[in-house]
Symmetry: D2
């Protein structure tokens, strides 16, 4: 038996990655891929790599599509998910949203960062945060999954166990991340043309990036605190895929590399998609390229008493589409790595 | 009248950049370029772009070369500068060293980071730190110039005025830098071949990088303190040239963007090679590519009370060879930008 | 039941790609991976992406390894295959060689291009050329497979059917190919470090490249001629993976785009790994990136009466490791695409 | 005394390169830079690298601008040059057009390739082709210069002397060129965003590219023939700057490498901006990066009797803006390399 999956917003990079994964997923069958712009065209018009497939883009007629799917993965631009999620949920379809629309539990934070009231606050409560290594149990019964974002995934996985174990202080955390250009989506805009990105590395969104409250929310949850404030500084780097996050935290008294190793072993020793490197090594985006793995390195700086952690993911796989499929596998009782190796 | 310049160690990337600059410098004449490996070969064998030139690499016969030059620029690997500098200085030649050999004023720090006693501690005292925007007056009479390193230049220029004006705390500073691959020199080693660097971004030297004490020394000097401790975390990024440093510092009470602007204006308003962007913008390596400029952006994060500064240089120009020529121009009373526009 | 596979020379890029494919191949089991340099180390030391795996490099003890494998894939440097192939074949192991050692049927040509007598001419006769779209039937019973090279695969697939159908002249063919840097292997040499390759595009091996006789041999075979002479001009391009070959041929009288389409349809209409684009379009390396597909575009230039064909493959997949596994699947009666989707 | 120069269409990549060159040109003074979109903005808004400059974009008010300039360089999109050139010429301004608008001497060819009558055929006659190494004498008195295109420059310089000397046949010439992405202009379009270009190499415009008739025109002129037909196949490569053209031609009887060397020496031995490599070597885009040089390599393939030539330029310098300045220097009696070293 195969899960019937509909992909909404399938013509972007996250959509392409979803198709790549789902087409070789042994227990998934794609029943619809939507794209307003490309409706009626074969998938190979937009992504020649899928020429063998006879999939065709259709308009996002939610009601009709809902009749013929068990799971819907939403790879839509920000702000559109609610309008799709409601009819899908009403029809009994499990919804996996790759956008940021349902990730914040606080309506206030949503308003602060998006300058608008959330269109469906009741869904915020219903949504399970789609980061399996942190919320696996809840995901097993989730109807609506707000898949963790790319920067957040690379920031939360390496820090949450350390915060939970009180090895690091929740105050004064600095996260400096670098992302490949697909992180900006398949956006046709001057800053993203090749000659503007090549030989260019720059910070952006230095204050108040929209991924910030999501990271703070999950770090606070891990630390058992109502709220924490950090600095998150994203950068654009001249590569297609990959995020490296370098995180500097105050070490709590008595912290050693051995203790960090223990905490990580306990948290991730049996995880298939987290790779903790031996102490003092650093993660590298190339080792997670087109994989669903998060690679973590850690070190301790005695002269400033800081724990320094690095973490790499592929922003389109573990940071988006791979994570959605991992969540879907969990929700439908499939082996978690199905389609992801 | 032209200054006669000898370049020692001219077959690496800093050497190539020196030649590019000096060959169009209206008041410099190259009298010798040394390379043990390429001695006897025309410069165009190693760098075809200089085919028009009739320069030829020679062995580094210091005594002989010293007879025919006013200035020597050393672009040698770490640890070799002393042996060249002494005879050159004895012959009255002004020496501009691009390596890190004379940058630390403290013998102890040198020993701590290089695991060896400094071979000529008296030269450490004699050397002037080659960062014109900070030490212009001293450079006018310097015999031995220890040109500032690439990461240090990008870290010190944006922070020193703020530290001196007490706008930021000297404690808890975090510097996260990304460098292009020429920063590693023209080194033939597995991690630097194209397929290993492309689509790769990673931190390295996370604890105890050799540029750390140099950065701390100059930040402490700016802050008027005997010593400070910071975190400096370099990364390798898939590009040829450029360093971006993102720096997070605690704001002192009452700091505003306007005050930061004022301090920068005072420090750099009349500098030819520092470009301070309007508030809230971020620097970009592509805008300093193959220039001698340091581009600085600044911002203030109210929710954590941090000043966030970004800074970009071309590691081979302002971070090495351009800086050496700028220092040389100052020492010889030439217009500072000669050859550098 | 799983095929037991040994990989000889597993620490290069073709080796890495083989492991990536075989580790998710449902009917293959890796029983040995050899590397003199890394013997005794876990695979993850060299390729962190395989951390989950407990594979370990071993020394290439052929006799012992032959006892425990059905298939051996040789990803060794040129000139070493014979010494491995003989004992493996004697032990009844099927051998798939990724090197060029057994690809030329003519000893004379071998001597001309390799400046040495072939060490085992009898194996040259025994070897089947490993290009499934041309030699599928022979591969079903082959003991020794000389997998087609990367440039040859991208040159032969688009031209063979046109030559066989006499739509193009076998005289005066020009092949201009561009390859990503992994095509040079995991070679640590100055021309391959990042700053030397980035922003660099250049031809090399313009006359007498070692892949030339292989391409000519197979074009001649397709044309039904004893021999033909072409121009093959490889270039190095700043990317990791991918070959684009652009091929210019004299059109025979009466050739039309429709006739070309027909011939391709007949040749490749039912092939899983050849994608022929609609007329007048051109292939793109990005659409075959990390796939086993060869993408072909074709056009007709009336003003010079030339057929112009473009063809893209991923040099490590269809150009090396993917092709080897495709051949292995055929030899062992498995579905041809197993492990390759 | 300085030449007053106006740049029309200064906000694209050719415009940026013109400003980079002219700002350090000792005998040029920029009196106007136009951009409809950016009129009223300081140049540093668009190109932060020029922050020091107080230039400001203005609307292209030709009549007014013509009052205050000796030379106008047009870096406009195709089809607009006539409307600017006429009033400028009437006002006695020397016009250097970087577009393709005046490059074809034949109105018929223009119509064939641009699907429109040329708006000012009399200007086609007046225009001198702006390739100094071929038309230096005519340029000295030209009022209107049609600067040679990027692909044409890289194709004509290496072939013209060989055709003129009858060392190669004018029939059956194949030119395969690869260009960096700035060759497409500063165009905001899906195919040019970073993730679409990176790891992508593809041919385009395989039949009937608009640079084809320009190349054929100049090759025919060199060969002393009314017309010739060649194949010109451009490719897009993942780099910012640079064109490599690889050219395959039939050798005429008796041609040797020595004869080719002689012909090149005679043609280019005293040229400052053409570098002919020793026999059998190949050109490399990185060695002409940000220079005005054309680097040429040549070889002879005995087994097919072909002369194979490779040629590299920087498409924005020798292929556009550098060439325009070189032509301007010639026209105004300045040293030809002024501003270009």
């Amino acid at each position: 038996m195969k899960i019937k999956v509909a992909v909404f917003g399938a013509s972007g990079y996250a959509g392409e990655e979803l198709l790549r994964i789902l087409l070789r997923h042994p227990h998934a069958e794609i029943t619809a891929i939507t794209s307003r712009k490309n409706a009626g065209e074969p998938v190979s018009n937009v992504f020649p790599r899928f020429t063998g497939s006879n999939l065709e883009f259709c308009t996002p007629d939610v009601e009709a599509i809902a009749q013929n799917c068990d799971a819907a993965i939403l790879a839509l631009p920000h702000g559109l998910a609610t309008e799709y999620a409601i009819p899908l949920l009403n029809a009994g379809v499990k919804v996996f949203d790759i956008s940021a629309d349902f990730r914040l539990r606080s309506q206030e934070k949503y308003k602060e960062y998006y300058n608008a009231d959330h269109p469906a606050p009741e869904l915020l409560k219903k949504a399970v945060y789609g980061l399996p290594e942190r919320y696996r149990e809840q995901l097993k019964n989730a109807d609506l999954v707000a898949c963790a974002g790319c920067y957040p995934t690379s920031s939360i996985l390496p820090t949450a166990p350390l915060l939970a174990a009180k090895l690091v202080s929740p105050e004064g955390i600095v996260v400096a991340s670098c992302s490949g250009v697909t992180g900006a989506g398949r956006k046709v805009d001057l800053p993203y043309i090749f000659p503007e990105c090549n030989e260019s590395l720059k910070a952006y969104g230095v204050v108040g990036h929209r991924h910030l409250p999501e990271i703070e929310q999950e770090m606070a949850a891990a630390a058992g605190l109502p709220e924490i404030a950090i600095n998150f500084i994203p950068h654009l780097a001249p590569m297609n895929r990959g995020i490296n996050s370098t995180i500097v935290m105050d070490a709590m008294p008595g912290v050693t590399l051995e203790k960090i190793a223990e905490v990580y072993e306990k948290a991730y020793g049996s995880e298939q998609f987290v790779r903790v490197l031996p102490a003092k090594r650093t993660s590298d985006t190339k080792y997670v390229f087109m994989t669903n793995t998060c690679e973590i390195g850690y070190n301790l700086d005695a002269h400033t008493n800081k724990v320094i952690v690095t973490s790499c993911i592929d922003n389109l796989t573990k940071g988006a589409s791979g994570q959605a499929v991992q969540c879907m596998n969990i929700r439908f009782g499939l082996p978690e790595a199905e389609g992801l190796i």
